[in-house]
Assembly symmetry: C2
Homo-oligomer: 363 residues x 2
């Protein structure tokens, strides 16, 4: 079949080289005679996979020794509860920045455990921008400040890191699910970072957590053991059987990322890909992107056709050209092109070419 | 390399045919041009995988329409908390049968949410038997009765189903993680069944839950949304992104199981495999199995060598003969051979042959 480009918002495209290696090792990992799926999580072979993954992660992003790396289950949705269940530390209030549907979900779950102060929100403009920090109204007694660094549905992204006056007392917590490892970032600016794997890291069913260890140990009474970060730190993510195969695939993805030149290099490629698509949309009168230019996501590009009646024709013809999973989220309609790390530049070039042809035909 | 037999207690051996198909479809599932890992969980392709899985599961075990099938994350450990958080329904007490380390973990977690009555326990004999039902001291006001149908560490298994006088008021809850789909069973005898996938169903990171729907809807206050069965029923296991690849592999495992003739046929094979090993151990004076014969697990066979100083030699020579992951759990020592569905009869024959030779050499 022809080359296919998969613009799914997640689970999403993986590097072809990763899938090829996974295929080749499926029945016999490194001469072990076993699939990684068949290995005891406490055996030497699998432990070596985890150790190498941690090593590679620390090469890609500098993670100080007072931060713990955890491989958990339940995706970002588990973290929406785990963050307040663990990080209130005697306080009753937390600050959240509302920038789209993912931050809204985090807020909704947090409200079950504490009083939530919406310190800033772009809901007044359908979450098409990121409120700048001088607009934030942080509370003085918040246990933490929560941001969503990229919103897959609205297509906004933090291109800057908030500076908190007292980051030791009020840690910054970030849901980085959809732009993790797409650009360099400074771990020390955050108290806790979490990222569901199914965008830039690997398959669904794995969530990466990087947490400053002094924040752990004060889970609310009634917190399930599995939702207490301390449980996982004490057991090095082996309290229960971890999602071993997803961890293995993430390991392969990190090797691929290192081969690409690491985060600084992948960021340049991601800037290039996003520019290709946004620049074309902005010159076009046929397509429209509603997001404020300075806050546009490099990962998820939502756009609409001038005439929504053409949406189905667009999707059908795109698919016929090998450009798939472009349908916008059901809550906003239109189109969405997700350009995660594993999307090659060539895929974006093909998409823009197709969009031009489609516009020429129907304009 | 030579044929290898993997006796791991879990994650465990998978059918070779399943791994071969997963390998062949890794980069292109059914002509889609995508790996299953890359598919949106809300797309037609993946939905068809889930629907077929449910269909096959209902062919293998008769699941009445008032039961819901859920595909969750967090393994049995998540269920240790979810069961009491959801099933107390205004009561404050639950009955647990203590038959080994897994029931002990379930009990420990349940105590965080309710008063636990240990209705029966074999701890007096290092959990080497299953207390018969006439020894059970059930409480009159228990919200549910919890059993662990197979203990992977101690190697005991329920070969009978408890009969509760008022099963509608006091549902039977079973952790079937390690013998699920190894034999036929009557779903209607249970209110809730859960099973981590990484023994007989597929890879780690997936837990199957079958729950009678009238039991749902009374989660304790403070229960995370992700730990409320209602959340998952309302969203057909798509509240958050499910572990899509693990679900796909489970689908392949069920196809393989149907090809074997279903549960009645696989049970006969499992009986045969277990008999091969236990019969040899019982005739030997060199090996010993401490478990009461009538309660011996078909899935996990723990045994010791007369002289523990020979353990390392046994493990090394077994591995040299392609018989791997035979080391007993660190808490009990000795050996353990796990004989899940995917272990071929030939693997057990080879193991017994090796054990005979080893005994002849060192006896």
């Amino acid at each position: 079949m022809n080359q296919l480009y998969n613009f799914s918002a997640g689970p999403a495209v993986l590097p072809k080289k990763v899938l090829q290696q996974a295929r080749d090792e499926m029945l016999n990992w490194h001469g072990s005679g076993m699939s990684v799926m068949e290995m005891s999580h406490r055996g030497k072979a699998f432990i070596s996979i985890v150790e190498e993954l941690k090593h590679d992660l620390c090469e890609l992003i500098d993670i100080p020794s007072n931060y713990k790396i955890l491989f958990l289950q339940g995706g970002a949705s588990s973290q929406f509860a785990m963050v307040p269940m663990n990080l209130l530390r005697g306080k009753t209030n937390a600050d959240y920045i509302h920038t789209g549907q993912w931050s809204e979900k985090a807020i909704k779950e947090a409200k079950r455990y504490c009083s939530v102060n919406i310190a800033a929100s772009s809901k007044d403009a359908q979450c098409t921008y990121i409120p700048s920090q001088n607009q934030w109204q942080l509370s003085s007694d918040a246990a933490f400040v929560h941001i969503t660094t990229n919103e897959t549905i609205g297509g906004v992204e933090f291109h800057w890191t908030p500076e908190l006056a007292s980051e030791n007392e009020t840690p910054l917590v970030a849901d980085m699910s959809s732009n993790m490892l797409s650009r360099p970032f400074d771990v020390t600016k955050y108290g806790l970072i979490y990222a569901g794997a199914q965008k830039n890291l690997g398959p669904a069913g794995l969530v990466l957590v990087i947490i400053r260890e002094d924040l752990v140990g004060s889970a609310l009474p009634g917190t399930p053991s599995l939702f207490d970060y301390q449980t996982h730190i004490d057991n090095d993510s082996m309290y229960n059987t971890p999602p071993t195969y997803a961890i293995y695939i993430m390991g392969l993805v990190l090797k691929w990322l290192k081969d690409q030149g690491g985060l600084a290099a992948i960021e340049q490629t991601n800037i290039q890909k996003a520019a290709l698509l946004y620049d074309y949309i902005d010159t076009s009168t046929f397509y429209h992107c509603p997001v404020a230019p300075q806050d546009r996501s490099r990962m998820n590009v939502p756009f609409t056709l001038r005439d929504p009646a053409l949406d189905n024709a667009f999707l059908e013809q795109a698919a016929a050209n090998g450009l798939v999973q472009l349908k916008g989220h059901r809550s906003v309609g239109g189109m969405r092109a997700s350009l995660y790390n594993a999307m090659p530049v060539e895929g974006v070039i093909q998409l823009v070419e197709f969009m031009k042809e489609f516009a020429n035909t129907y304009d």
